[in-house]
Structures are given as structure tokens and as C-alpha cells.
Amino acid sequence: MTDRTNHLNPLVGPTNGLEPPDGLKIRVLVAKPGLDGHDRGAKVVARALRDAGMEVIYTGIRQTPEMIAEAALQEDVNVVGLSILSGAHKTLCPRVVELLRKQGLDDVLVVVGGIIPDEDLPFMHGLGIQGVFGPGTSTQDIIRFIREHAPRVAA
């Protein structure tokens, strides 16, 4: 087995300055469910998470909840990030959470970005979604939240 700290040595090969102490990568699925095609925000967040040292699987637009859950399973992600600007969050989020649970992915952290009215926050919290990031949220806040709440399970 290759010594996995090799690539952490700054003098040997590429540096990983933001490597978490245990060396485990945080894998994040970034997906846009539903029919909403505005993905610039999702891409901005995806790049910010990459720059924070995370491995981001970007699935693109027009994802069904089934596609999202399937990708989350195959990619063994720690976090699923949903970008929803269409207002359909009260339909899409429960469906995604349900499918993740059905596949045994109970401990995956689900976060949502986009347009979520304040009055819908209790609904989101009720689904177990604590991380809701509306317009104007700084990417640093999202990064900090994920670092604090993502499950860190050694494979």
C-alpha cells in the first residue's frame, strides 16, 4: 500500500495545504434537481468547495431525485448539496432525503442552496436539513458548515 502521506509532503509532488488532519477527503455531490437551468450559483459553490480541498462531484442540471440518490450511493459521498432556485424545494427535498434513507445513506449531510423563503426553514429543519444557504451566503460559511457537520467515516 502506498504510504498515503506521501502526497502531503510539500517537497514531494503536489501540495495539499488544506488537507484535513486525518487525511480524509470530504466528498460532496453538487446537484440541481428539477427543471431549473440556472447553474452559475451551483458552479460557484462547487469551485469554492474544490478550493477548500474537497472532492466535488458535479452532476449538472435536470437531475431527478432518483439520479441524485443513485450518484450519492455510487460516489459514496459525505455530503449532498442541492441547488434549487425554482421554488420546488418542498417537493424535491423530501424526495431526495427519502431516497437517500432508503439506500442506507442516512448519515449523509444534506445541504441546500438557492431560494428558500424564511417561512420554509422549519420545514427544511424538519427534514433534517440544517444547512440552508440563501442568496448572499458566503462560500466560506458553506465550507465551514460542511467541515463541521460532514460525517467523517474512515472507509
Binding site: D3, P14, G17, I57, Y58, T59, M67, L73, Q74, E75
Partner: protein
């Protein structure tokens, strides 16, 4: 081992967790790989490499569909680069593979290179083992795709497809050494664009420039006019050149059929057996190197190379060759240079 049993029973979540285990190279990984190994060796592994913009992801997607149409199960590993500055990665190849969503006969996993520079991640070969043991009959590996330095794929795949596309630079670009020498097949993708025929001609001309070392160490055919691609009378393999338009699926069944023909050729020529033997040697040497190093380091007081030795070498008071001999012999690091 519970995870192993569930993987072998076909549980996809177990496969996904097993892949993470081997990728993270944690303490459980070695036992898992030892358990997987007897169940491997059945899948045919196909590498897809080429410069950025040639449409590798779309071609992998189309090839997977073509295999599925024949009832074969397909595992896909899509590799993208890890940023050397942040250690993070943006893995976007799945975007091109939405056709395969919902298909239980397909499994797609994205991998970041995590510091490896040859086009694949260090553990891509081990992830192949997991997919192989899980029963996927064809495993497609899409490399990072920087174009020239991507030689890892040649030792990870039985059949390597090099993807070209018209209009990405002049013909000389298309025939730079390294990537072209590892090709068992060429796909000229985006063949509906202008210049596709020129790209095909450039590749044929390159083949006609004389025998070269092919992927499996055998001289490729000389590509003289009139030579049909594929197996030559002398038993060598002349890489066929297939035009494709991956997003429309055009030319892809033909490419698939050539891959299958190459697989059959590897079997009947005995090259497949030689490849496996060579790979077994490389694998074992690699693992031995790591284990021997780990054993030696474990013998050191701090579990790492002693600072006194490093300082002596850096200060030219000790040469690294003598230092190594000392460490291997288990001598005290502070012994003065004779």
C-alpha cells in the same frame, strides 16, 4: 469479511464503500484487497485517453450504452485532476453520462488523482479490482486527459483507446509520441466536424512511418497502403482508426466491435497472459517496495528516517548510498563516516 461478502453478493452500497476503502488506503484496505483478489481477472479493462476537448466522457457514455445493448455489464471510472494547491478536485465527467442513470447494469465512480501524475490515481488499479470482483464484465477507465504524459493507462488497461478530434491543433499535434504509442485503437471523435478526414490521414501516415512499439511491446504493423487494420499476418496488431460522433452514438458500435476483436486477439496470441504476468510483477514489486519501506521505517526510533542521517547527507558529511546501507544493516545512525 462482511463488506467483502456483501460486495460479492451484488450489493451496490458495499461496492461503493469498498471503493472508498481502497481509495483511502486505510487499515482495512489490505485485507479487503486480499479478499477481492481471487474474484478478479474476468473483466476486460478498456482505457480511454486523449487530450481535453476530444469528447472522452461522451465516448465513454456511448461505449457503455453500446455494451449495455449487448447485455454486458459496465463499470466506469472517470478520473479528474486534484488541484496541487488546494488538494480538492472538481469531478465533472458524470455530467456527460446521464443516459446511464437508473441502469443497474452500470456503475460509475469518479476519482480524483490525489497527487498522481500519470493520468490516473494511484489506486485506480485497485478500484478496478473492486469492480471486477463485483462482476462487471467491461470496465471503462477515462483518464485525466492531458494528452502526452498519460502512460499509466497502458498498464492499467488491456485495451487502450486514444481519442482524437479534428481542429485541436495541426496534424503534428496529433502525432506526438507517447500517447500515440500506447494506442491499441484510435477514435477520431467529433467526426462530423471539418478536418476529421485529415486527422484520420495524419494517423494513417504516422502508422506508415514504420514499425513502432505498440502497447503490448510488440512491433505494430507498418501500416503500408493495403494493410487492413487489426491482426496482421505476422501476428502483430495494427491499431484501427474509427470515426465516431459520440453524442449521436455514430461509429460507436464499430469501435466497440474493434475493442472486442482486440480482446480476442490478446487471448489467442497469448499476449493477455503475458500482460497479466507483467502486471503481477509490477504489482508485487510496488507492494513489496512499500512494505519493505514501512518495515524499515518502523524500526527507526521516531518511525521515520533519523534527522541525524538526513542532516549528515544534506551537509555532505555522509553520502545517501552509505546512509541507505547503514539503515538497511540496522546500524546506529550516529556512527561516524569511515
Amino acid at each position: 469479511m462482511e463488506l467483502l461478502d456483501r460486495l460479492l453478493a451484488g450489493e451496490r452500497r458495499a461496492l461503493a464503500r469498498a471503493i472508498s476503502c481502497v481509495e483511502d488506503q486505510g487499515p482495512e484496505a489490505r485485507a479487503l484487497l486480499a479478499g477481492l483478489y481471487p474474484h478478479t481477472g474476468r473483466a476486460h479493462v478498456i482505457g480511454v485517453t486523449g487530450a481535453p476537448g476530444t469528447g472522452k466522457s461522451s465516448l465513454v457514455n456511448a461505449l457503455a450504452r453500446a455494451y449495455r445493448a449487448q447485455g454486458l455489464t459496465v463499470g466506469i471510472i472517470a478520473v479528474d485532476p486534484t488541484s496541487p494547491f488546494s488538494g480538492g478536485a472538481l469531478l465533472g465527467d458524470r455530467v456527460r453520462m446521464r443516459d446511464l442513470a437508473g441502469d443497474q447494469g452500470t456503475f460509475i465512480r469518479s476519482m480524483a488523482t490525489r497527487g498522481s501524475l500519470g493520468g490516473l490515481a494511484h489506486t485506480t488499479g485497485e478500484v478496478v479490482l473492486a469492480l471486477d470482483a463485483a462482476g462487471f464484465e467491461r470496465i471503462l477507465i477515462e483518464t485525466v486527459g492531458v494528452g502526452q504524459a498519460e502512460v499509466d493507462i497502458a498498464s492499467a488497461a488491456h485495451t487502450t483507446v486514444v481519442v482524437e478530434a479534428p481542429g485541436l491543433g495541426d496534424e503534428i499535434q496529433a502525432i506526438k509520441a507517447g500517447v500515440l504509442e500506447i494506442a491499441d485503437l484510435f477514435a477520431v471523435n467529433k467526426a462530423d466536424r471539418e478536418g476529421a478526414d485529415h486527422t484520420v490521414m495524419a494517423l494513417k501516415m504516422m502508422q506508415g512511418l514504420g514499425p513502432s512499439m505498440g502497447h503490448h511491446g510488440v512491433s505494430a504493423g507498418s501500416g503500408k497502403p493495403g494493410h487492413q487494420p487489426g491482426e496482421q499476418p505476422d501476428g502483430t496488431w495494427l491499431p484501427p482508426i474509427t470515426k465516431t460522433v459520440a453524442i449521436h452514438g455514430e461509429g460507436v458500435p464499430a469501435l466497440r466491435d474493434w475493442i472486442e476483436e482486440h480482446a480476442a486477439y490478446l487471448e489467442r496470441s497469448g499476449l493477455r497472459g503475458r500482460w497479466e504476468l507483467a502486471r503481477a510483477r509490477t504489482e508485487l514489486e510496488h507492494i513489496l517496495r512499500d512494505r519493505l519501506m514501512a518495515t524499515l521505517l518502523a524500526r527507526q526510533p521516531a518511525g521515520q528516517l533519523p534527522d541525524e542521517i538526513l542532516e549528515a547527507v544534506a551537509g555532505r558529511r555522509l553520502d545517501p548510498y552509505t546512509a541507505a546501507e547503514r539503515l538497511l544493516a540496522g546500524r546506529e545512525p550516529s556512527e561516524p563516516v569511515r
